[in-house]
Symmetry: C2
């Protein structure tokens, strides 16, 4: 192991949807872990929409990023040298690495992974934050019962595909909303949704009314805007709406608003969801979802890019909605990847 | 009894806040009840904000009104002639009379009153729709527990004063928001609120933060807009917001919107409330609230106008926020009024 590594920093602060040359790959030093710290090697870097608002200073706990700053990001990482009493070398963790090949941590906020439970990269998607987001929104807020109809937007993304599949396990009828016919086909064929509406078709409102038979019990929202308003019009009285994300707003910073009269008219019950509140559910959720995954009741679809240098283009693709499945950059060497 | 009566019709369709000369008092005939119908004499006419959106065709079940149409409205009325098998002459009912001295009904949707339970006019306020609205929002949606802090806007209105007083009975700390120092004084002295913020003061946001000690468990919203957004910022995680009315929008028809990011950030739980869903609760609610009223645990404040011809000016006062307490027009003769 050399003591040099690749890192990705901000070359320009993005305005609107990020583009590849907002970022620059630079050469840096591999840091040394101090006492009580460990050094980890990034294996899978997770690309998620919240990163866009994080660098703009619009995501909780993140200050606005400056030119030259390392891009933030969580990864599955391999502990390669440890001076931490409770973190053993050779173990895998999910941790904030940022967009770089090696990172040091004092162990706070890390999550240890059991490589025998499921493929490691699933810890960033179905068995990670996106999956927990879905699980918390469903079991703690919307609480669907078998036979109810659930609609989810951004249907093939990390959160959306988890929501739909978990709702199927819970016995719901699931209709997705996505931005291409290809994504809709995947929602149905890979994830087993009962239907999917492409919101880029002119007829999408009618399509959604038809697919849901004008009865939406739960709407899991990742986008706000027209899809949220259309779902509201189809909501049964006291139907539940989980407000989880505002992907469009992450790019622009322009606040997404909604009219209140339809909320009253629909007798909607709307729930704001922040996944960090539900970390205590992580272990019990992961144990269940891993079993469902092994049993073939749920599936994983990843949009993989290879090599840290491909992260900027992959992130631009994600933020313009061109990814299909959970967006991941394979950073670690093939030998490590072989674990999964 | 002559066979002539006063009626109030629309002289012009209001644009924005109604003014007195949007209406005209005309002479009309007292109708004859047909078989299965009864004739009732209006005693107390209820003035409520929803009437403004009803005539604009923006309230559920109401088509837009035309020039010359009778103004809609519910009243406490005395049955003066009955050809209805189940409605006895001499009884009091709440019914849709419109703004006129006499009206005929087939009995559908009426509510019979027990004049020994409470003063008759309370059937339009604390023991009527506004009270049931408050009761349903509290017991079916927000479900506050003792010690929680509840904020309610339009604090001295029919709904607001009911919400605050019922929340006090439920053991909450209650902070009102109202549009004048006089109203705030009444919220505290008459209705027993723990505090009240005048949103016309420049410092109102700070005042609200201070009055609530930056902890709002439940916000009962009657107005939307800046007060809703300010309450959202003070909401505890998973705090509840009841969306009940949009008084400002009733006048203008311009949709009141709200940004979604603060809903997520606050982990808010928002509930759209339509009182008509909760009519089955009416009798049990009225029995309880009447007892609390007799015991002096709740109070009634009415903004009374006298004579049907005073309804237009009283309605204009209501819709510009100048009423204090439940807005009522005493239409019936003093002899009948003596019942209450």
């Amino acid at each position: 192991m050399t003591n040099r590594q690749q890192r990705v920093v901000l070359a320009r602060i993005p305005t609107g949807t990020p583009v590849e040359d907002n970022f620059r790959v630079i050469d840096g030093e591999v840091p040394e872990p101090g006492a009580g710290e460990f050094l980890a090697r990034t294996v899978y870097l997770s690309l998620d929409p919240y990163l866009r608002s994080a660098i703009a200073g619009r995501h909780m706990g993140h200050a606005p990023a400056a030119v030259g700053d390392l891009m933030p990001g969580r990864s599955v990482a391999l502990v390669v040298r440890s001076r931490h009493p409770d973190v053993l070398e050779g173990g895998f963790v999910v941790m904030e690495t940022g967009w770089q090949e090696y990172a040091v941590s004092n162990g706070r906020g890390i999550r240890r992974l059991d490589p025998t439970l499921a493929p490691l990269s699933t810890a960033l998607g179905l068995l990670g934050m996106p999956g927990l987001t879905a699980w918390a929104g469903l079991t703690q807020l919307a609480r669907p019962v078998p036979g109810e109809t659930l609609v989810v937007s951004a249907a093939t993304g990390g959160v959306g595909s988890s929501v739909g599949q978990l709702a199927k396990v819970m016995g719901c009828r699931v209709i997705g909303v996505a931005g291409s016919d290809e994504k809709c086909a995947i929602a149905a064929r890979v994830f087993g949704f009962d239907g999917c509406v492409n919101y880029r078709h002119e007829s999408w409102r009618d399509d959604l009314a038809q697919a849901t038979r004008r009865r939406v019990d739960v709407y899991f929202d990742n986008v706000g805007g027209p899809v949220l308003e259309a779902a509201m019009d189809l909501l049964v009285p006291r139907g539940r709406v989980v407000l989880c994300g505002l992907i469009g707003q992450y790019n622009t910073g322009v606040p997404i608003t909604m009219p209140l009269a339809p909320v009253i008219r629909a007798r909607a019950q709307m729930f704001g969801l922040v996944v960090y509140d539900y970390e205590p559910l992580f272990d019990s959720y992961v144990a269940r979802a891993a079993a469902w995954l092994r049993e073939g009741r749920m599936r994983v679809l990843e949009d993989r890019a290879h090599g840290l240098a491909s992260a900027p283009a992959a992130f631009a693709r994600l933020m313009s909605g061109q990814n299909v499945g959970k967006s991941i950059v394979v950073v670690g060497p093939e030998a490590i990847e072989g674990h999964s």
